[in-house]
């Protein structure tokens, strides 16, 4: 038998378990165009929904006339808030404890807001009819600046009039949502008062949008005979959507089946609940026919969840030799017309309190004020864990600003302030317990890899040449050392709408030794069907190729909170390992029975249990699986399956060191990324190929955000960047090649030591690119300039510094 001749290492390699760059099982379908995305779903009698949207950012809706629209053949219905009100569905709860209009109830609060929903026989008729719905608006003053909104007499949310308490404590003004405070204000102010050096700066992280290539959409199908609603959609959290639909519609949860089919990228955009889902469900209930709604790109950019828009005022204190003594931050957060941020309930500003970053900062204080404006709602974590990217950008800019003030090298300033390897688990001043890290090792490896000292020498020469008129190009060296907080999270402090943020995995081993596993998460390109099978393969010794992974069908998968915030591997990945270990524990008893020895006299060996001291006597997992279904084993139930609901004891804290080398043309503002080095430490690495792919993609999204991508409004509240002509998505032409690297510092509390990686490159990439731009201009007096650093803004920096003669 083959097994007799193979070494344990060879048997392990055959499993394609953890550590293997296993090719993706998803790709056979996707490369042939056989994916099944929501717009691919076609049901008998399916109708199509389309929205009438507000052209104004702030206006009263005086009247809606549906007559002309309804007169078109093929139009089935036109829904307005009046139609939804009797059902109580004209408003819906948001994930942030606020409520949001499903269809305009008397007024609109942002351009692109949903006013009416047309249902027709096909998408062309629906679009025609939407054009013919006549809406009378009465324009109101528009507030697009959160600082002005807090001073203005204009009341945006009249429905909240007189409510001085919001979901997160007192409201200070009618356009104020919440204040969230963390850390020790008095102690921090005392430190700032006594410090040798204090650097102060406003760091703005502009509004942008996750913009997955597939927009948001759904198909709602109410079966009037069975009373069962099936809702297909682009949901990053299908189980949570089922519960939300049940709570707001009144349908019993067992009569709702939510299915997330293949999802064409999410990046946070597909976490929330949108008006399109509610209207489609209502339309299907009313008509008894399936109803599809898929937004177009303009609708996606104008109305579904934006990201960032944080004004972060910072003060950082240090001794004269560069030891940081305190950090203070006040953030003004522009949440748009409704507070629809997707954050765990107790964290209205997400995990912004990770803003002490990778540094041992003894004293810190953070306050965040949420503000209503006439912009789209959202505030999702665009490829980051709940505002971690804002936090990382803030601290990595503040470090640079402090380095300027101290006239120090920014790499050295970071080094002398890093949390040391022997300080983990590390208690941060803003309340987190970092699980593990070795920042100095990663930093030294990164600096060495890029030849940091040589780069600085080259830069010095370049500056000299520039001043001598020999070149018009500057060299910027962008440094970043980031620490993330991902894997939300422990149920004791993490929930969304009261649902604890555990996750789950159920594994069933079939008699012939293959298996199916189902998880509470949902892949949107991360390759779960590939990687989670690898975890199981390593844990129970069945080949990954013999393990099917299923996610996204709430009728079959165990309950879980979904995929966002890099939580799949830290939470569902842990559940997977734990479920596999339950199976292995039962398998041990079966093996012992078959080998006629005591349970404790067998030991695990890659893919089998063998008798201790007699490795030639063994039962493979495959043999054990069959025995589980055909042997009557005293004291054991037949079958071999397990389910685990994993409540993580702590978050995980991936980290990394990123360095960007950028050439900048002073006269045109054009930039060119000459080199980008990304070192990630995500703990145990499950599939290196997929990790690298995640890093490439995440850094490219970071490049977009830092160098050009934004959701911009004019003073009338018009969205200026609502198509891909204006909203920057880098092409292959602008995108550089990246060098990836790693260190491995396992998480001590995760069953396999993995920390999650999908969002690290976005969190670390943005400050690396931005710091490169700042670094290029540092010798000429630049301290801070807001992103995105498009050619025009870079030209303006140079112009403002008098570099155009």
């Amino acid at each position: 038998m083959n097994d007799q001749t193979l070494t344990p290492e060879e048997r392990a390699a055959n499993l394609k378990g953890m550590g293997s760059s296993r090719k993706r099982v998803e790709d056979v379908r996707f490369t042939q165009g056989k994916g099944n995305y929501v717009d691919d779903i076609k049901l008998d009698g399916m109708l199509f929904g389309a929205f009438v949207r507000s052209p104004y950012a702030h206006a009263r809706v005086v009247s809606v006339n549906k007559e002309a629209a309804l007169a078109i053949p093929g139009v089935v219905a036109v829904l307005t808030a009046e139609d939804l009100a009797p059902l109580g569905l004209h408003w819906m709860p948001t994930l942030a404890g606020d409520k949001q209009m499903v269809l305009a109830d008397g007024k609109v609060l942002f351009q692109g807001q949903e006013v009416a929903y047309v249902v027709a026989e096909n998408r062309y008729i629906a679009a025609d009819a939407a054009e013919l719905v006549e809406v009378d608006y009465e324009e109101l003053p528009v507030l697009t600046d959160p600082f002005e909104a807090l001073k203005s007499d204009v009341v945006l949310r009249e429905d909240l009039a007189g409510q001085t308490d919001g979901a997160h404590g007192p409201r200070k003004h009618h356009n104020h949502i919440f204040t969230w405070e963390q850390g020790d204000k008095d102690a921090t102010e005392a430190v700032l008062g006594e410090a040798d050096v204090v650097a102060e700066e406003m760091v703005y992280y502009h509004r942008t949008h996750p913009c997955p290539l597939e927009t948001c959409g759904c198909v709602a199908s109410m079966d009037k005979v069975t009373g069962k609603l099936t809702l297909y959609g682009t949901f990053q959290a299908p189980h949570a959507i089922r519960t939300v639909v049940s709570l707001i519609s009144g349908l019993a949860e067992h009569n709702i089946r939510v299915i997330s089919p293949d999802i064409g990228g999410g990046f946070g955009n597909k976490v929330g609940a949108y008006a399109g889902y509610v209207c489609s469900v209502v339309a299907s209930i009313v008509t008894g026919q399936p109803v599809k709604w898929v937004e177009n790109r303009m609708e996606n950019l104008m109305s579904t969840a934006f990201a960032r828009d944080y004004w972060m005022q910072g003060k950082i204190a240090a001794t004269k030799d560069g030891k940081i003594t305190g950090l203070w931050c006040h953030t003004t957060a522009d949440h748009g017309g409704f507070d629809a941020c997707a954050d765990p309930t107790k964290f209205p500003a997400g995990f912004m309190n990770i803003c002490t970053g990778s540094y041992d900062i003894p004293t810190a204080y953070l306050a965040v004020d949420g503000v209503y404006t006439n912009k789209a709602p959202g505030g999702v974590a665009y490829r980051c864990s709940f505002r971690v990217t804002e936090a990382a950008y803030f601290i990595e800019r503040m470090i640079e600003v402090l380095a300027i003030k101290l006239n120090m090298d920014a790499a050295e300033l970071r080094r002398i302030n890093f949390i040391k390897a022997d300080q983990f688990p590390y208690q941060s001043a803003l309340g987190w317990e970092y699980d593990s890290g070795d920042y100095h090792t990663a930093w030294d490896k990164a600096l060495k890899a890029v030849g940091y000292e040589g780069l600085r020498a080259e830069q010095a020469q370049r500056i000299e040449d520039f001043r001598a008129g020999k070149t018009r190009k500057l060299l910027g060296i962008g440094l970043t050392h980031f620490t993330e907080i991902v894997g939300a999270g422990p149920v004791k402090n993490c929930d969304i709408l009261g649902l604890g943020m555990f996750d789950s995995c159920e594994i069933r081993i079939h008699p012939t030794g293959s298996a199916i596993a189902r998880l509470g998460t949902i892949s949107q390109g991360q390759g779960h069907a590939t990687t989670f099978a690898q975890i199981i393969a390593s844990e129970i010794g069945l080949p990954a190729d013999d393990i099917t992974l299923e996610e996204g069908d709430t009728d079959t998968a165990p309950y879980g909170l979904g995929t966002y915030g890099s939580r799949s591997t830290p939470v569902a990945g842990a559940a997977t390992a734990m479920a596999a270990r339950k199976i292995r524990a039962k398998a041990q008893m079966i093996a012992a029975y078959l080998l006629e020895v005591h349970d404790n006299d067998v030991e695990w060996d890659v893919d089998r249990f063998a008798v201790k001291g007699a490795p030639e006597r063994f039962k493979t997992m495959k043999e054990i699986a069959f025995a589980a279904y055909n042997q009557a084993i005293p004291g054991l139930e037949p079958g071999l399956e397990a389910v685990s609901y994993y409540d993580p004891p702590n978050m995980t804290y991936p980290f990394g060191a990123y360095i960007c080398v950028m050439e900048i043309d002073v006269d045109t503002g054009e930039w060119d990324v000459r080199q980008f080095y990304a070192l990630d430490d995500c703990g145990t690495r499950i599939n290196p190929m997929i990790i690298e792919g995640q890093v490439h993609g995440g850094v490219t999204e970071a490049l977009a955000i830092a160098m050009g991508q934004e959701i911009a409004y004019d003073e009338m509240g018009n969205v200026k960047t609502a198509t891909l002509m204006d909203f920057f998505l880098p092409t292959a032409w602008e995108t550089p090649n990246y060098t990836t690297d790693h260190t491995v510092t396992p998480s001590p509390h995760h069953p396999i030591g993995a920390k999650g990686v999908g969002e690290s490159p976005n969190v670390g990439g943005v400050p690396a690119f931005s710091n490169a731009v700042h670094d290029a201009f540092r010798p000429f007096g630049l301290v801070q300039s807001h992103m995105p650093h498009d050619h025009w803004r870079i030209w303006k920096i140079a112009n403002g510094l008098g570099m155009h003669g």
Binding site: R24, F30, T31, D40, G264, G265, Q694, T700, T723, W733
Partner: protein, 164 residues
């Protein structure tokens, strides 16, 4: 709205149907023919998820009326699979080099790459990056897509050489 009779060759098969003059090719393919490989990402010609091959040219089917291509020879990603059902060279190399993640851009990417390699069988990295710049990907950062296309070029050239 009155409909017109359209006839096309799609992936080697004769197809026909009735379509309004304003019907976009992408909708005709996806809704009428149920060929759902080509995707809709922007409806403005920017993203390339809808790319198909028409009479030897890469075309964005989200901004093409089906009436405009009456009688044409259309190839979608479905038509690039080998006759025996195995993956075509580009499909296999995209998988081999991890040139896709969510898969939404992939049909357009592969269909465009197919034409690019007909236009230029020996592309440099720069040629590939320029030639693919009409197709957006949000997941991969392009690095592995470029690798997959370069590897496909090598493999196709080797196959051609062996056949000659």
């Amino acid at each position: 709205m009155s409909k017109m009779h359209v006839k096309l060759t799609v992936n080697g098969k004769q197809v026909e149907g009735l379509a309004e003059p304003r019907t976009l090719l992408i909708h005709f393919l996806r809704e009428d023919l149920k060929i759902t490989g080509p995707h809709i990402g922007c409806e403005t010609s920017h993203c390339g998820a809808c790319t198909v091959d028409i009479d030897g040219k890469s075309v964005k089917s989200c901004t093409t009326f089906v009436a405009q291509v009456n009688g044409a020879d259309v190839t979608t990603v479905e038509g690039l699979t080998n006759d025996d059902g195995s993956l075509g060279v580009l499909q296999e190399m995209f998988r081999e080099h991890h040139g896709l993640q969510c898969g939404f851009c992939t049909p357009g990417m592969i269909t465009r790459a197919h034409r690019l390699l007909q236009e230029n069988p020996n592309p440099t990295e720069e040629d590939i990056r320029f030639g693919m710049s009409g197709n957006l990907c949000r997941c991969t950062g392009y690095q592995n897509i470029v690798k997959a296309i370069a590897a496909s070029a090598d493999m196709l050239n080797a196959q051609k050489e062996a056949a000659e």
